[in-house]
Symmetry: D4
């Protein structure tokens, strides 16, 4: 594998608010270790996603202070303390305001099978410095379960709703709140779920106004969007 | 058009409990009038579905005591009173038991655009002699609307739930009741609803146990299934 | 895996007539054992579906009086005899009437490959306390086979018809009977069957009035719908 | 429109047994008249298919002894009597054997909406000199109708079966006979029939051995295949 | 048409921050006028979307101080000045802070054909009280056009990017900014664009982190999401 | 696995001209051996298709005089010589006429990857007693290859054309001959061949008149159709 | 319609070798006239494509020396003669070398219905200054037609092959030549051609090495690619 | 496996400019070695593509001077030096002109996962004798990366652009250059990328004029097209 084939965008924190995130698929163990080293040398907080067990083991061996979440398939390492100069990530949008703790995203799943995606969401939001509330197994077929937990999510700055099968949960959640909802269709289900298409189409056709959608099983992307929305709510304009 | 191309199944009431229903598409006005005449001569109660305005006008001119529901696109004529012998339809399964009035189906729609399908359901159930409760515009994005009307539908013998867009309503309704739910996906919506596929897939992938599905916009078929279920609940075994 | 991610709905028998059924996919062995224990503690009759061999072996080790149907991929344990108070499941809708034995569902398959789904249907109906008649290998290409067995299914309260490939059998069965028919498309076939889509579309487009459809390979759901319909036929109104 | 854009293949009768057939779509009235004239000048029997009303009227004005079948959307003109030399079509494969009358194709439709395709089949077979038996409205939901007419089709040399919706009829017909069956899926139906895809997939996935399929609504092509098969059965080897 | 079939959710401003928006399709002129009257009586600012010319003309006749945007297919009427009590919409989330003017959304289109969707976005954001910057015709095939206008959109609180054909523009825009981007795929294009599927899939598969997607041609929904995000950025926490 | 789930149709030779063929998928080794034994006891010539290596090994062990074609995935055993009474298969349509040898089918493949399907075709035709000519690797991109071999296939009674990728070969072959052509799309190819859909659609949309199509990779069915057509050409009417 | 929504890229000839081409859909008559005027003022040769009859009439009225090809739906106006300075388009790549006439593209169609796309190709190549050879109606079902005209296309610098239905022609053409072939799938056909998908998939899966593909019905784009390839063959390196 | 099933087209260099390329899938190790030997005996330069590791190992054992690129899955062997007569490949189009070195193709990838396809492109172009420039990891979400490398690709004779996910890169590249661009969609991505369909549709719907497309992951075909275009640019007319 050509080593010149991978480049790290070290300017991204300045331009987009957060450093580059490492996408595992298609990278060799050597490439992954090199990318993580480069980011750490530049004082970035590292998040790698969609890792195979082999990739994760290789990273853990190289960076023993990192954290591997097996369910989420993620690996994280905190930024090195810098003796001077540039501040560690996540970056300037939150810098110097101590407001990160206030940013709050609720993560709601329809069923047990949605947990791996939910864990990827949690790891991402934690990496962004955003507070997370997890609410599990409140799918629409048990209609009493969601309103019973309304107090936990109604004041969130943004909500990530994760559902497979008929993917109806984002529409229902959206009807209870005024904040933006990001729907993540999952490939959970069988037969005519077509690997997540059924849930994806449900969320795209939601009759609720405040629902936008990301790719099937795209926990990282949903978390990133929700995290951006939540942290912007606490910016000093 | 070859007149021999249409035949009327006059044995159906004996075999299947209800007389044949006339499906409008592809039939000439002459064929439709002939089929209706034949059924009436055999003392059947007539229901014709999916009629064009021209077909309906032609039938109304020929059978002025019939009833044309423009929204439902249906036409009905009551069976002639028979001086003796065979009893008029809907047929033997309810004969001599005076229980028809007890059979009860609830019809629930998600939005205004689902009304034409709901009207076809109502006409069909009325033709079957089943009591109908209509509950409109209780889609999932307004989550308080459905439980507010629980008393109207929780004791129904069967429920027809009609929804386009994300088609999530049958799953939610099913979670409140113990009776069978028949979902009708509609072509209401735009873009990635793909003419009703989004709602169809949602209903097929429902996480509720008591939901079965019919074709897109198939109000008649859903009503027939629900009517069968409801009337069987009151049979003398 | 977060243990708080699975919750058991112990109110379901009151609300929906039957206790919660355990869906295997995505659950750890530990979660499965915990859910089954909880249900048994509450005197529910347990049914778990779509189990992997490993999940089934784990359950069998923990509950040696359970029954594992390898073909159906199900596991069942009878409810504990209760010394007093609440009656064991399946629940109130059949309580105190001794009519369960009368409820009768016929299960008809098109070919040998449909057997696993048929076995899941049988286990579910047996769990519901409904009498089952199995009729195998009567696909439409041997047109004499189905009418030869008419006496076995024509008086059923509901019929589950299971077919892959062209999925034509439900339409044919429905033409012989007056009861509701639930079609289960299976993924049996090859090439342009697209994993069951061909059979699914056939059943959705059935020209018979009394056919509704469930998801591809969804034996449990079809059985549950048919069982609901059949047991309601023997309710004391 | 460039007149050089249309060319007539006058060698086709020698090579393929029958002269070229004129496909209407995309041709101007002038082009159509020119093609028909050319064929007649070469003593071919003319068949034009899929004509718009305007195209048909233009041809009828130019060739008043032709026959326009409005339902089939076809136009035909008999070959001119030739004073000597080359024999009129349909061609050498049947020449000098007086056996054409023996070739027999049955045409079976599922419902009224399939009539236009059936008429195109009839016109084509008639143009080929093959005897046709039409059997209408024997779809699978009325299972007694097809065997009642078995005597009319069981000795055919080939059978064309035309069906929309679930497209199950070819499989059932094929189970009764030993001759080849050509299935024609039609676009008749609504919703999840997807313009004929449901019927097409059913026929492709037929569990019968003796079924092959042509394009949706392709009456001409099915007739041509069946006519080829039937006339070959009476060749002098 | 049953008048009881339409209900107005007058509690929505309290629950979700903005009053109900009127969705035109499937509503009669009478129903539309009634809904608008009801909203105005309750001091709500009215927005109706996806109106036919006939619906718009009917509304304009009834509410001559309203504004009909023909390209956007929208109709708006300002809330009546209330003599006391409840404040007019858009509602409490912006109340008493005079910050609405600060909320800023950029709307970027790829080509001329995307204008109708862009106009619907503009009307919606204007109705929400959000400042809008329109940037037109900067599709990716002219790569110099977008960076030339970076100053106009890089400080927006959220960006709506509208594109048909290959739908690549949201990914490119997202690479320049740190704010959330909402992609709207449009049905602009031909052939293998499949009515907007090509653009929809592009946006769902965007390699940018900060892109979420709404339904094809769903200008209103994208604007609503972007407006929510932008106004929340100026909330007093 | 329920042994009653498989039944052998011993009447098929009388009704359809050839005995039942054994379809391997979904059958246990025990079921397969039992079906083969039953057929042999009734003096039928046995053909089993789509066997796994394990199924084939099991059959070969039980019937050592059988023939396993690994590429075709078939197993065959000749009918036992009968001391009197009923004649061995393939059956009455060819009985007492000694004409089988005359029936001739050409089998043409586009590329090397189509060989497994071609071998299934060969085994089936051989089982039917039909002479076969195999012509390999004459795909359309080498346009000189097919006409170079015209003499080998132009007098066939029917032709089976097997092609993956763009599936264009049947159209080209059909232009050279007057006999029926059966196209078999194969799953050979990659990317946008979608497991054979590209070839299937090509064959369904063939501009040739004399092409009908079977399912993707359905070598057996194509062979059976072609064999039927070819043997009928030599019947004594 | 906002006039600022259309901008003309006057730098394109310098950057890409040819001036901007005007895409008609979605533009008002006023916008079209303004764009054409602007291009002419800058001494560009104008080509507008996919015009409605109303758009074309409006342009013809404004620019009476233009040429409207009704079949191709194009409009062209030659560049104004410039008294000095910048040379008229098509541009620098061919400037001062007098070699344009040598560049040669063959355009080959499968059937009559492909003519409108072929005419768009011809207009585009003519606008580029490239010599065109048109070869019509040589689809694969008449396999003798194409080689009969080999001399006309075998020395072309590039070939555009236009075909609907099974779209097999590009593969066959490519096998005869050493130059690049651009395939244009057309929407010509019916049923399972799915508006051109069948032809598109055929061309993408071509077993020939020298075939690339453009969008369905995309005559302009194919012509532009072929024209680029052909003119580059005559560049002075 | 029938050895006669594979034939080598030894005339291809004369007809199409380059010798036949060996397509690995479906060939046995024996067949592959035989084909390579045959080509070498005829003094052709050999390229084999899409090899499994086992196929590659078998070839390397037989031809130890060959080169196996594991990432590209290719195998190459140089043509034997010929003592006289016919010149080694790649063939006559470049013969005797020493211009091959001038032909230049740029290969641009969007991300790391596209490398295997890019390596297949590089091997193919190298085999054709064309100079290659590789530019990696310049996807559209980092919009500054591509223009930074403009000098490396703007003078190429043709460009191959390789991208998965949203497949937007070819449109952007095409906007910077005047040469033809060949887009290769890859299956890189997840969820709604549908194995490369998202990228394929993006490239087919590109708003750039100078983009044509090949099959998903079809690196060889794109390279061959680009190589043809590039070498033709240096022909002596």
């Amino acid at each position: 594998m050509d080593p010149s084939a991978v480049t790290v965008d070290l300017d991204r924190r300045r331009r987009c608010g957060f450093p580059e995130v490492v996408f595992g698929p298609g990278k060799t163990n050597e490439q992954l270790r090199e990318v993580v080293s480069t980011l750490l040398r530049h004082y970035e907080r590292v998040l790698a996603t969609r890792l195979t067990p082999s990739q994760a083991a290789s990273l853990l061996a190289a960076f023993p202070d990192g954290r591997h979440n097996e369910v989420a398939r993620t690996f994280r390492v905190d930024a090195r303390v810098e003796s001077g100069g540039r501040e560690p990530s996540p970056g300037p949008s939150l810098r110097g305001r101590g407001k990160t703790a206030a940013a709050h995203v609720a993560v709601i799943t329809a069923g047990t099978g949605d947990l791996p995606v939910a864990e990827e969401v949690r790891e991402t939001l934690d990496w962004m410095g955003v507070r997370v509330t997890m609410i599990h197994d409140v799918g629409v077929a048990g209609p009493h379960r969601l309103p019973a937990r309304l107090a936990e999510f109604q004041d969130a700055d943004a909500i990530v709703v994760i559902a497979g099968m008929e993917g109806a949960l984002p529409s229902v959640v959206a009807g209870y709140v005024a904040c933006p909802v990001i729907g993540v269709p999952t490939s959970v289900g069988y037969g005519a779920n077509f690997g997540g298409i059924s849930a994806l189409l449900s969320m795209l056709n939601s009759c609720a106004n405040n629902v936008a959608v990301v790719n099937i099983d795209a926990g990282f992307k949903a978390a990133f969007m929700a995290g951006l929305i939540a942290t912007r709510s606490y910016r000093t304009p």
